[in-house]
Subunit: 385 residues, 2 copies
């Protein structure tokens, strides 16, 4: 089966492209490589020295004999997108190709507008390309658990059955996203749902939690295949960032009280979830939503776990620092999200373990000379003035 | 109180601007006048001969002594928007300035992308201008009842209290919009809600039904003040279109079975609803949603009412034609939407009456020589291929 991985040069995209290639799928990567450029513009860098995509793909071919096609360009350029799709003839389109950082979207008006236009137009272009030329293809779209916010009731997978004034209906789950980035994903979800309804397209929206870890079976084969690992205030996410902070003796930066509870998953489960969604496609006209995470943790609890693992490894003096929260979010709240659909398809989770934390800490230590300590603290505020 | 009416050259915007001016508000209109250009590009025209905005405003001044300022430009141009706002110093910002036709948004990919980018970016720009320079201003934003779709439960005003697995929360009402235009309004609603939450802005989202009628107290004062009245397949809406069809002896075009039920209101109530929302602003941080319609009708019932009124006026041979539905929508469904919030603020509805239908039909007859019969039937399909 031919799978086009849009955004295949990024953190989840790269790991997914290699995993699918390794599992026998015919894979192409489409990417505008702009994520590397944003790093340059912000003056940040991944902890790990990632090779140019062309070299990554050459090494993959040398190591495994498997070829991954490459299309360098932007999906907001419809002609480019269509030409690439017509050349590759994808049966599944995996879409990671969006601006994915909440702080980036909150920098200022220009970044908010860019994030929403880039993400919404890219996805609309994919939907139109599918409608016009690939109506039977399956869209596997990366959403986010952040679409739901923190409601005071259980979070279901995409839809909720509501009884109201003696009547009943199953409706899209109400959305309360917490940044202009998360809002862009909500906009996408509504647009994709509509396209499935009117054009009979098939799509799976994977509302993913916070991903941690860096090694997968494939990216660990060779240093030239190494994945990116972000720790900076704009692109770094909770657990990965904590491990790198511990490795360099920087306080673990918990925003506010730390009672923010979120869904988390190991990147080895990300790639497996993608594979399960691809192998078990949605029906024509179906807009299917899976919540893609394996465990719930509060941010404060995660910091504690990292601190304990660091102490065991002999990293003394690891402090936890509760910063003024740059975001506007509840810091203590009910949170119970469902995640049975991917388990039902056969996902066998890699739960967070001491050994994972040990290996991630050791990995961080081995690259700690690359850390720029000026880039760790959050600089983007959600608040007015 | 100073009120900036963005989109004040359009159907609802023009009537609202004059009404507010007449009621003693200090009014400015900001409009890019692009709606007139789209008519030219599509080869369609309003039934009524509308004067250039500058002449309209001059006549208004001559008749009433009241001055309405004019800013001609585009709100997707942030510098222009900000400069206009800094000059006028609005206390209320009424936002009608969006692409408002569902069929227009469904013409093709370019029109879908344009509609969403234009509407979402314009609203984001207003929100940022408010955040940066007018944090106490009140945004009164035109939404649409079409955000809700046709759920099988009662439609509340913006929010719904859900009991689920023994817990309870009040959440944004789930959205099931039926075109890329309606989706753009859903995107706006989510963005505005978030801006109110993080920046403490105040906003009222008016989820308006289908507006009918053409005369208000102010637009009826002089033919130079006449409002636009659209009957074409792209911009024409149900009841207005039926009256014009009856006037020229064209069959009344009901899409599909005609069981589609929607909220409707007289344009005289539109302007009064705007005034009520402005006079009773939302609280800081509040994202308030009103459903703005006065009655529910099925499209088929409306066609019957117009036919009966036409026969009474001596217009014989009025036929009702059920066309193949160009849209993808339920043609028979439950529909019960609440609309008490504007009534609670004092709205006294102009319910649809024989006399309104008579006057609208008479009005249509007096301009029927301007009708281009080639523009009446729907040409835009929601369907694939």
């Amino acid at each position: 089966m031919r799978v086009l991985v849009i955004g295949g040069d990024g953190y989840c995209g790269w790991a997914t492209a290699l995993h699918l290639s390794n599992r026998g799928y015919e894979v192409a990567i489409l990417d505008n490589l702009v994520r590397r450029y944003w790093d340059s513009k912000l003056g940040v860098d991944t902890l790990t020295p990632i090779a140019p995509i062309q070299k990554r793909l050459q090494r993959w071919h040398d190591l495994t004999g498997k070829k991954i096609d490459l299309f360098v360009g932007d999906i907001t350029d419809y002609d480019f997108l269509l030409k690439s799709m017509e050349q590759f003839q994808p049966e599944t389109i995996v879409h990671f190709g969006e601006q994915r950082s909440a702080p980036y979207s909150m920098i200022d008006r220009e970044h908010a507008v860019f994030t929403q236009v880039n993400n919404v137009v890219g996805t609309l272009n994919i939907l139109y390309a599918m409608k016009e030329h690939f109506p039977d293809a399956h869209l596997v779209k990366l959403g986010t658990m952040g679409e739901y916010g923190t409601p005071n009731i259980d979070i279901e997978e995409g839809y909720i059955t509501i009884e109201h004034n003696g009547r009943k209906d199953t409706l899209p789950y109400p959305k309360q996203p917490g940044s202009f980035y998360h809002l862009s994903k909500v906009h996408d979800s509504h647009n994709i749902h509509f396209a499935c309804k009117i054009w009979g397209l098939r799509a799976t929206d994977l509302n993913q939690g916070v991903v941690y870890g860096v090694l997968t079976e494939e990216t660990g084969m060779d240093e030239m295949l190494i994945n990116r690992l972000d720790y900076d205030g704009v692109f770094g996410t909770a657990l990965n960032r904590f491990c790198i902070q511990a490795a360099i003796g920087h306080p673990l930066t918990v925003y506010g009280k730390g009672g923010q509870t979120r869904g988390f998953l190991d990147i080895r489960d990300t790639v497996r979830c993608m594979e399960l969604a691809i192998a078990n496609p949605a029906e024509p006209g179906q807009f299917r939503v899976f919540n893609q995470f394996t465990e719930l943790f509060s941010v404060g609890d995660l910091a504690m776990k990292v601190k304990q693992a660091a102490v065991t490894l002999g990293l003394d003096h690891v402090q936890i620092e509760n910063l003024d929260n740059p975001r506007v979010e509840l810091e203590e709240h009910y949170f119970n999200a469902k995640n049975t659909k991917l388990l039902d398809l056969g996902l066998q989770p890699h739960y967070l373990s001491d050994s994972l934390l040990d290996s991630l800490l050791a990995f961080a230590i081995s690259y700690k000379h690359r850390v720029d300590k000026q880039q760790i603290l959050p600089k983007v505020s959600w608040r007015r003035g």
